[in-house]
Structure formats: C-alpha cells, structure tokens
C-alpha cells in the first residue's frame, strides 16, 4: 500500500501538479545575471495565493528551504529572505495554494557572478 501511495504521489508531483496560476514577475527576474547575491527574492502573482513551500538550489548543492514563517495569508506579492550561498546559479522552486483550492507551482533561475 505504501509503495502504491508513493507511486501515486511521485506521479502527481512529477506531472507538475496543476500550475493553474502564473507568477507575473519575480525578483530577480528569470535568467537574470547579477553581480551580488540579493538579500531577498520576490514574487508578484496574478491572483492572491498562499505560498506553501519555497526552496533554493545553488549550483549542485542540495535544496535549502526558504523561511516562510510569518507567511500565513493569501497575498499577491511576497518578499522572502534569500540565504547567501555565494556566486553561482540559484534555482528557486515554489509551491502554493490558490484561493479556489488549486495547487500551483513554478520556478525561476538567476546567476550571480
């Protein structure tokens, strides 16, 4: 049973479970090239959502969760602290819940040289 549930969960998560709302803009923008590591990252969504998970991967390092403590409301604009992991490529993945109950997810990447 556990194997079946794991397979279903994996299929659901791997299939890009319902990106029903698009993020309008991110800060930094997708594929941006920066001189310094930004202290914060930002999201501006098309509609209010509740962020449920944000994680950052730096080059080939394992993913680190971004602190969402205090993010307890459905909002359109979010600003979150970014851990300084030095120069390299930062890949941000996010997941959230729309007010209509739809799960959403997305990602963006930027580079610090």
């Amino acid at each position: 049973m556990k194997i079946i549930i794991t397979m279903i969960v994996s299929a659901l998560l791997a299939s890009g479970a319902s990106a029903h709302s698009k993020v309008s803009t991110t800060t930094p923008s997708n594929h941006a090239e920066l001189a310094d590591v930004p202290a914060q990252i930002g999201f501006d969504f098309a509609k209010n959502i509740r962020l449920t998970k944000v994680k950052v991967t730096h080059d080939n390092d394992p993913a680190v969760p971004v602190d969402l403590v205090g993010q307890t409301d459905f909002e359109r604009i979010f600003t979150l602290p970014l851990p300084d992991m030095g120069d390299g490529t930062y890949h941000i993945e996010w997941r959230g819940l729309g007010m209509d109950g739809h799960a959403m997810q997305g990602d963006f990447t930027f580079e610090v040289n």
Binding site: I5, T6, I8, V9, L12, L13, S15, G16, A17, S18, A19, H20, K22, R50, T52, K53, K55, E93, R95, G96, L97, G98, M99, D100, G101, A103, Q105
Partner: protein, 261 residues
C-alpha cells in the same frame, strides 16, 4: 437510480446490489480521503504533506474542503439509503446527487463562475452514473442462464433509454469543452486539448461497444441465444475497462493539467 427505474429487472439481485453498492461506497470514501491527502502532498512537494496539519487545514478552508465534505456526506447518505425500507432508494439517490454535486465545486468548471455550467456538469455526471450503474447488474443477469430473458429485456429497455442519455452526455460534454476552451484551435495544440481528444476517442470506442450490445447481442438474447449473453457479459467487461480509462483521463484533465490560456 437503477433500483428506482429498473426494479422489476433487478429485484432478484437486491441483496447482491446492496453489498456491491456498499463496497463501492467504501472504495469511494477511501479514494476521497487519499485524494484530499494527495492535494496536501502537492502543496509541499513531498509525501509528508499528506499528513501536514497546516497544509490539510489550509485545504479544508477552500473549495477542496467543501467538495470533500459534500462527497463524504453524499456517500454516507447513499449507504444509509441502501438499508432503509420503502424510501431507501430515494434516500440513496439524494446521497448520489450530493456526492455528484461535490464534483462541481472543484476542477475547471467553478472557474467559469456560472451556475448554469455547474448544472450542466451535474447533468453530465448523472448520465454517466446511470450508464455505469447499469453495467454490473446487467452483467450478473447475462451470466446466469436462468435470467436470460430478464437480462435481454433489461438490456433492451436500457438500450432505448441510452439513446437519449448518450445525446445528453455528448451535448453537455461538448458544450462544457467549448465553454472551457473557448476555441477549437487549442484542441490539437495543448496538452489539455490532446487529453480531451484522448478522452473523446475512448468515449467513441465505448459507444461502439454499446451499439454492438444494442444491435447484436440483446436482440439475439431476446431470441433465446445463450451465447449472445456470454458475448454481452464480455462486452460489458471491456466497457468497464474503457470507462476506467475515461475516468483516468477525466481525472487528469480536471486536476493535473492546467487550462490552456
């Protein structure tokens, strides 16, 4: 619905139908709970989300929680109705309507924010339920030589009604697809459109099987051909497999794939 409309044909199966319906109710409750928990997993990206109280609490406050409540309530009312005398079938029908209404609360239909399209979906689901509901009792009767004539007449009566039901299903489904997509060009250029084409193809296969049942096997059974009954039973088994594939395609369309913009 089957007990109400076809009582004369299925009364000999009453005890078996009740047990079968109760078993399906158990499957439905399990599926509803796992489905709800999986949505929690989608919010965190890992299996731990299935038991994350914060995520499940969040979901509970949205239309997902509302749909979950309707579904469980409907299934409980169906189960109670199975064992109530006299009005039991009506109680089960009411429970079925509540459970089906839960499907109008989530997916892409509520995004349209129109009550009319929700009612259209309910009508579509009622037609599907009626069709699916007939399959098990008809197969049981077809498999029992003692009930050859009953199965033939049951299948014939359903075949007459099915003509109207198929028209409603196709019209309601087509209208919903048009309201959701807005344009035909998205059908062959998006994952959502292609999945919809896959679903329609499977439904066409289903209609082919139904036509074979209605035009070949049922008339042969009415003429006393026992072999035709075996063919009908096998055709129904194939129909159940195709219907399962249609349901998988529908689940993908309504919960995994985003609407094309």
């Amino acid at each position: 619905m089957i007990r109400l409309i076809f009582w004369d044909y299925v009364k000999c199966l009453d005890a078996r139908l009740r047990r079968f319906s109760l078993g399906l109710a158990g499957v439905a409750v399990t599926a509803a709970i796992i489905g709800f928990l999986l949505r929690g997993a989608a919010l965190t990206g890992d299996i731990a989300g299935m038991v994350d109280r914060e995520m499940l609490g969040l979901l509970w406050g949205t239309s997902v929680g509302e749909a979950f409540t309707y579904r469980l309530a409907g299934i409980i009312v169906i189960s109670i109705g199975l064992y109530l005398p006299v009005i039991g079938a009506w109680v089960s029908l009411a429970g079925g309507l509540i459970a089906l209404w839960s499907f109008t609360q989530i997916g892409h239909i509520p995004d349209q924010e129109q009550t009319g399209i929700r009612l259209l979906l309910l009508l579509h689901l009622l037609g599907v339920s009626f069709w699916v509901g007939i399959l098990a009792p008809l197969r049981w009767l077809a498999r029992d030589p003692e009930y050859l004539a009953v199965a033939a007449n049951f299948g014939d009566k359903f075949g007459v009604m099915a003509s109207g039901i198929v028209a409603v299903l196709v019209l309601a489904g087509g209208l919903m697809a048009w309201l959701i997509l807005g344009t035909l060009s998205l059908i062959f250029t998006t994952a959502y459109g292609l999945a919809l084409v896959g679903k329609v193809t499977l439904v066409a296969l289903l209609l082919g099987l139904a036509a074979a049942n209605k035009l070949r096997f049922i008339p042969a059974m009415q003429a006393g051909n026992q072999k035709a009954a075996a063919h009908l039973a096998r055709s129904i088994e194939l129909e159940i497999t195709v219907i399962t594939a249609v349901l998988v395609a529908t689940a993908t369309l309504t919960s995994v794939l985003a609407l094309p913009m």
